[in-house]
C-alpha cells in the first residue's frame, strides 16, 4: 500500500515547490515525527490525515519551524530556501503562514490590533481594507477585544491574520475544530476562497471528509510516518484505507 513518493519536479528549476526530506522531530525525549518525506507542487491543496496522535499537528508545527517539537534531522525546502535552518518568524517572513489550532487570538488586543500584528514584519499580504471587505463581520467588530468574538469569528480572524501576510504556503491546523456546523459552512467558504486564489495549502483536519472535498491530494500519517500519498479522490474511494488509518 505504501505508495512511493514521486518527486513532482518544478518545470523551471528541476526542484519541487515545497519539499520535505526525511524529517525527525522530538518533544523533549519523545520521538514524534519519525522520518516524514513528501513534495508539494505549487497550487496543491494537500490534506494531511491520520488518527489522533499520528503526528499531524507536530509535522505541521515542524514545517512552521515552531520551537517545539524540535527538528533534529532532515531538510525542508521551499524552492531553494532551506526552511529547516530558519526560526519561526523567519519562516513566516519567507511566506509560510501557520494558522494554529485553537485560533490563538491574543488576549488584551482588539480585532484590529490582532490584524495589525500581522503587518509588523515584511513582506505583508492583503491590506486591512481588503480583509475587512472579505470579512465584514471582522470590520464590524474591529474595536472589540479579539477573545470576546465567537468561535467562528475567531477562526475568521485567525485566517485573516494569515492573509494579512504574504502567503506562499498556508498551513491550516484543524480549522473546523469545535465549531457548530453552520459556522463550519462559513469557514469552508473562506477556505474555498483560498483555494480559488491558488494558494498552496496543507490542511490538517479531524473531519477527513470535509478536508478531502477541498484537497486534491492526501497524505496519511501513522506512527509518525507517511503511509499513503495519493489523490484525495483515491482516499475517498478506498474504504479499506479509510478504515485502517482514518476510522471513517
Amino acid at each position: 500500500m505504501n505508495a512511493q513518493t514521486k518527486p513532482q519536479a518544478d518545470s523551471a528549476t528541476g526542484t519541487a515547490f515545497f519539499s520535505v526530506r526525511d524529517i525527525h522531530a522530538y518533544y523533549g525525549e519523545s520521538y514524534i515525527v519519525q522520518g516524514v518525506s513528501f513534495d508539494i507542487a505549487e497550487g496543491d491543496i494537500v490534506a494531511l490525515l491520520g488518527r489522533n496522535g499520528a503526528g499531524k499537528t507536530s509535522t505541521l508545527r515542524t514545517l512552521a519551524r515552531a520551537q517545539d517539537p524540535q527538528l533534529k534531522r532532515g531538510e525542508i525546502w521551499l524552492g531553494d530556501l532551506p526552511v529547516h535552518t530558519l526560526k519561526d518568524y523567519q519562516a513566516s517572513q519567507s511566506g509560510i503562514q501557520f494558522v494554529q489550532e485553537d485560533r490563538r487570538i491574543i488576549p488584551g488586543l482588539t480585532v484590529e490590533e490582532n490584524l495589525q500584528l500581522s503587518q509588523i514584519a515584511e513582506p505583508k499580504g492583503w491590506p486591512l481594507e481588503k480583509i475587512y471587505e472579505c470579512f465584514p463581520r471582522l470590520a464590524e467588530r474591529r474595536k472589540q477585544d479579539g477573545v470576546t468574538l465567537s468561535g467562528g469569528e475567531q477562526q475568521m480572524l485567525a485566517v485573516a491574520r494569515a492573509l494579512a501576510r504574504d502567503i506562499r504556503l498556508l498551513l491550516l491546523d484543524e480549522p473546523y475544530e469545535g465549531l457548530a456546523p453552520v459556522i463550519v459552512k462559513e469557514i469552508e467558504r473562506i477556505v474555498s476562497q483560498i483555494k480559488e486564489l491558488g494558494i498552496t495549502t496543507i490542511i490538517v483536519e479531524q473531519n477527513a471528509v470535509a478536508a478531502l472535498e477541498l484537497a486534491n491530494r492526501a497524505l496519511i500519517l501513522d506512527m509518525g510516518q507517511i503511509v499513503f500519498d495519493g489523490t484525495a479522490k483515491s482516499v475517498l474511494d478506498n474504504p479499506d484505507l479509510r478504515n485502517e488509518y482514518l476510522a471513517i
Binding site: 519561526d88 494554529q100 490563538r104 491574543i106 500581522s118 509588523i120 514584519a121 501576510r165
Partner: protein, 340 residues
C-alpha cells in the same frame, strides 16, 4: 493632620522607589519569564552611575607640592578640578546638578549593561528551571556587587542634590495648611518616578512597539508565527527595565547614600511588591508599590507602634500574606503566570 499628610508623602516616596524597581522586575517576568535576582544590582549600578558621573565632572589634575607636607610627612598633593578649569562657572553649575544630569549618562550605560546581560547570559536561561535562573542571576548580582565594591569600597558614598533642591518646601502652603515642610528632592523623586512609570505604561499601551510587546507577553509563539522576531523586542524590553532600575537608582542617591549593597537591600522587597501586585502586571506592580510604601509609613507612626509594637517591621510581609491568601494571583495578576 499634618502628620498624616507627611506620612502620606513619605509613603508615596517610598512607594515610588519600590514601584520603580518592581516595574522593571515584573516586565522581565512577563516578557522573558525570567526570575531576575540581578535586578537589584541594576538599581545599584544606576546609583553608581550618579557617583561616577559626579566624579567625572570633578576630575582633577594632581600636582605635587614639595613645599607642603601631609601629617605623615609625604609631599602634599595639589588638586585642580578640570571641568571648572575648562568651563568656568558653567562647570560649577554642572557639578551642582550632577545627579539629575547623571540620568543622561545612566540611560546609555544601563541600556548597554541591560542588553549585554540579556544577550550574554539571560537568554540561555529562558527555558531553564526558575531555580537555575535564580542561581545564575544571584551569582551575577554578587559578581557585579563585588566589582563595585572593589572599585568604590564598602562605605556609603555621599551624593548631594542640587543646592536649589536640597532644602525643604512648604507643602502645607499649597494645601492651605501651615507648616508642613517636605524636602524638595523627595518631591522631585516622586514626580520623576510618576513620569517614568507613566512613560513606560504609555509606551506599552499606546505605541505599536508596545502593542507587540504586550502581544508577546500573552503568546510569544503566535507572535513568532506572524513573522515577528519577538526575542529581539524582549531584549529591548530588558534594556528598558535595566534603564528604569538604573535611573531610579541614580535619582535615589541623594536620599540614601549608595553603597555596593544597596540593590540587594531592595531586592527582596521588590519581589514582594511584584508578587503582591500580581506577576507580570505592570500596573499591579505600581499600585502595590505605592500601597506598601504608604502602609509602611503609617505603620511606623508612634501612635500605631504603641498599640502594636514592631508592626512597622513586619507590615509589608503581613500585607503580602493577607493579599496572597485572599487574592490568589495578587492584586492584578493574570491567570496562569508563574504559578508552577
Amino acid at each position: 493632620m499634618d502628620q498624616l499628610i507627611l506620612q502620606l508623602l513619605n509613603g508615596l516616596d517610598k512607594g515610588a522607589a519600590y514601584a520603580l524597581i518592581a516595574l522593571g522586575l515584573t516586565l522581565v517576568f512577563g516578557t522573558l519569564g525570567i526570575v531576575n535576582f540581578a535586578h537589584g544590582a541594576l538599581f545599584m549600578i544606576g546609583a553608581f552611575c550618579a557617583v561616577v558621573f559626579s566624579r567625572l565632572l570633578q576630575l582633577e589634575t594632581v600636582t605635587i607640592d614639595p613645599a607642603r607636607l601631609t601629617p605623615w610627612g609625604s609631599p602634599m598633593e595639589v588638586r585642580t578640578p578640570l571641568v571648572q578649569a575648562w568651563l568656568g562657572d558653567f562647570g560649577a553649575v554642572l557639578v551642582q546638578w550632577s545627579v539629575p544630569l547623571s540620568i543622561l549618562f545612566a540611560i546609555p550605560v544601563m541600556l548597554i549593561v541591560g542588553v549585554a546581560m540579556e544577550r550574554g547570559l539571560i537568554r540561555y536561561f529562558y527555558k531553564r528551571a526558575h531555580a537555575d535562573q535564580i542561581l545564575v542571576t544571584f551569582g551575577l548580582a554578587i559578581v557585579l556587587q563585588e566589582i563595585v565594591k572593589a572599585n568604590f569600597g564598602a562605605n556609603p558614598i555621599p551624593v548631594t542634590a542640587p543646592a536649589a533642591l536640597a532644602g525643604s518646601v512648604d507643602v502645607g502652603g499649597w494645601l492651605g495648611l501651615s507648616g508642613v515642610f517636605y524636602p524638595w528632592w523627595r518631591l522631585v523623586y516622586l514626580g520623576f518616578a510618576l513620569a517614568v512609570m507613566g512613560l513606560v505604561i504609555a509606551f506599552l499601551r499606546f505605541t505599536t512597539y508596545g502593542m507587540v510587546v504586550r502581544a508577546g507577553m500573552e503568546d510569544r509563539q503566535t507572535v513568532g508565527f506572524l513573522g515577528i522576531d519577538i526575542e529581539k523586542r524582549f531584549t529591548v524590553v530588558f534594556g528598558i527595565a535595566a534603564v528604569v532600575a538604573g535611573i531610579a537608582g541614580a535619582m535615589y542617591t541623594p536620599i540614601v547614600s549608595p553603597n555596593y549593597h544597596i540593590g540587594m537591600d531592595f531586592l527582596v522587597l521588590s519581589f514582594v511588591v511584584v508578587v503582591v501586585g500580581g506577576m507580570g502586571s505592570v500596573s499591579g506592580a505600581v499600585f502595590a508599590g505605592f500601597l506598601l510604601g504608604i502602609l509602611q509609613s503609617f505603620a511606623s507612626m508612634n501612635e500605631v507602634k504603641n498599640i502594636l509594637p514592631g508592626i512597622d517591621q513586619v507590615i509589608i510581609y503581613l500585607v503580602a500574606v493577607v493579599v496572597l491568601l485572599v487574592m490568589p494571583r495578587g492584586l492584578m495578576g493574570r491567570k496562569g503566570v508563574m504559578e508552577n
